[in-house]
Amino acid sequence: MKKTNICAALVLVLVAGSSFFFPDLHGKLLSPASYLKLPGDFRAQVIADNLGAARHLAVSKQGLVYVKLAKLKGGNGIIVLEGVNGDGKAAKETGFGNFIGTGMYIKGDYLYASSNTDVYRYQLNDRGEVIDTASPERIVTGLLDRREHNSKSIVLDNNGNLYVTIGAYSNACQMQDRTKGSPGINPCPILDSAAGIWQFKADKKNQTYDDGVHYATGLRNVVGLDWNQSLDQLFVMQHGRDELFQLDPDLYNAKESAELPAETMYALRKGDNAGWPYVYYDQFQKKKILSPEYGGNGHTTGGENAIDPIDAFPGHMAPDGLLFYTGSMFPERYRNGAFIAFHGSWNRAPEKQKGYFVVFQPFRNGKPDGKWEIFADNFAGSDDISSPSQALHRPCGLAQGPDGALYVSDDVKGTIYRITYSNK
């Protein structure tokens, strides 16, 4: 036993040494892009590193990259990367905005950014630069932040509306959160002000809950979302609930709990309800199953008034970024398909963790077409991750550049990747 462990450890060191930062012939340390695994003819470059908790990002039509941080770097919560070209890092890195958060989106001449309670916007000039970094307009204020699931992700439609996700400050709306034996509250009071999507005017200052439209409900926690331009419709990725086995070991075993429930994609219309906390989606039975906190047994279905997901992925992989690809750099099959940045799991323990990757889901006629595939893999630096703090990088945000390049942010080290395609 002892021998095996030492051998395993040695192998780990050797493998790690050769694939992570092993110096090349010129003595230069290889960048995190070098151990990403991509389909043939795709290449990754690192345009920035060590930004810290880099959450969502947006690229202006002139090619400036804006990154939202969940921890200030040098007092700044937004980083601007300029001078991005075919190789190496951006020529210039500056920052502004003294608030932390997740949301970052560009629409027209405005850069939108969210804190965990507010949404701000900054006007851009014709070079894509923020005109006045010191005085953004506050568009939305006073949204709920009770720590758990407090990211406010944002996207805009083509009719002057802003959509903000507000996550549930709870796992399953139990009387006592994440506590074995504690029943679900019925009706769940969290749904009035969280666990949903709120719609606001994109250009009106200081809106609160009272000014917003409660656009969709029953969504436990949405971090990744995008406006699908070809369908003119909001698509979101829900983080499914945790701890089925830990909370109900009589109904679920550890293996089932590591796979269930699905992480789900929804195509939303105003007024939709996705069913949380009363049901979860079981990707094996392909049904909405009544939550055990509300009398479920793992088989009884529920949520007759709730919508079904349009797509389902293995549990706990934490989809934090969604992007429908509209560029022309990548081959035709990627057009209008969905890239999804999975942050990687923690709630699979004691099973091995997984999902530190970017997925591609092909679409045809507005519907998922065939099985999803792993597009960019090995952000973690290893496929043997038992605990998320071992992951070297975790994908979070996605954005598309004006040339069709795909940008991915990592919120462990703050590495920003630019993925390009060329078959020449």
């Binding site: 036993m1 002892k2 462990n5 030492i6 395993a8 450890a9 780990l12 060191v13 790690a16 040494g17 992570f20 930062f21 092993f22 110096p23 003595g27 340390l29 908790a53 969940a70 921890k71 720590r147 758990e148 699931h149 407090n150 009387m175 006592q176 959160d177 994440r178 506590t179 074995k180 034996g181 509250i185 009071p189 969290i190 701890e243 086995f245 830990q246 923690w346 709630n347 323990a349 004691p350 630096g381 290893s382 038992s386 605990s387 998320p388 703090s389 071992q390 070297l392 462990v412």
Partner: protein, 159 residues
């Protein structure tokens, strides 16, 4: 020469990064844990590991790490109180904040379970602090308003 030094440093660094957790895990496997700490290990794996992870590394931004932890090695009364009553105060360790609430385990774990798991934690994962006894846990439990020690979240309600 410089090149070699850089290479060696890089290897060392990577070695340290990737070995941090496996070596701790290996240590836990290699050295059989007997007595109360042995029971503590079992309780850790059944009750704490799903959130705090096999290497006690926690989940960045969500569930705090328990390795080399100021909380684990800190005042027994505070530590025992957290296990009994849970915690929903936005813990900050080394500049990182943790968002998920800790559920109360006062109704789930007995005094000796809590003493054992804390003694195990305080002597593993890079922690070095004195073990905790059943009596210490019992004394703290008696000071709490409710024998079951429900989380204050329940009192406050959701709104």
């Amino acid at each position: 020469m410089k090149r070699i030094v850089i290479g060696t440093l890089a290897l060392l660094e990577v070695g340290l990064i990737s070995m941090k957790s496996p070596s701790l895990l290996a240590a836990a496997v290699l050295e059989p844990v007997h007595g109360p700490a042995g029971r503590g290990k079992i309780i850790y794996e059944q009750t704490c590991l799903p959130c705090h992870q096999a290497d006690a590394g926690g989940v960045p931004g969500m569930n705090p790490p328990l390795r080399k932890s100021p909380y684990v090695q800190g005042a027994p009364a505070t530590l025992i109180g957290i296990i009994l009553q849970g915690l929903n105060d936005g813990v900050e360790i080394d500049g990182e904040t943790y968002s998920n609430p800790m559920p109360p385990f006062g109704a789930v774990l007995k005094d000796n379970d809590i003493a054992d798991v804390l003694s195990y934690l305080r002597s593993h994962f890079g922690n070095k602090a004195a073990p905790i006894s059943n009596l210490q846990v019992g004394r703290i439990r008696q000071t709490l308003p409710n024998k079951n020690n429900k989380n204050k979240q329940l009192k406050d309600g959701y709104h």
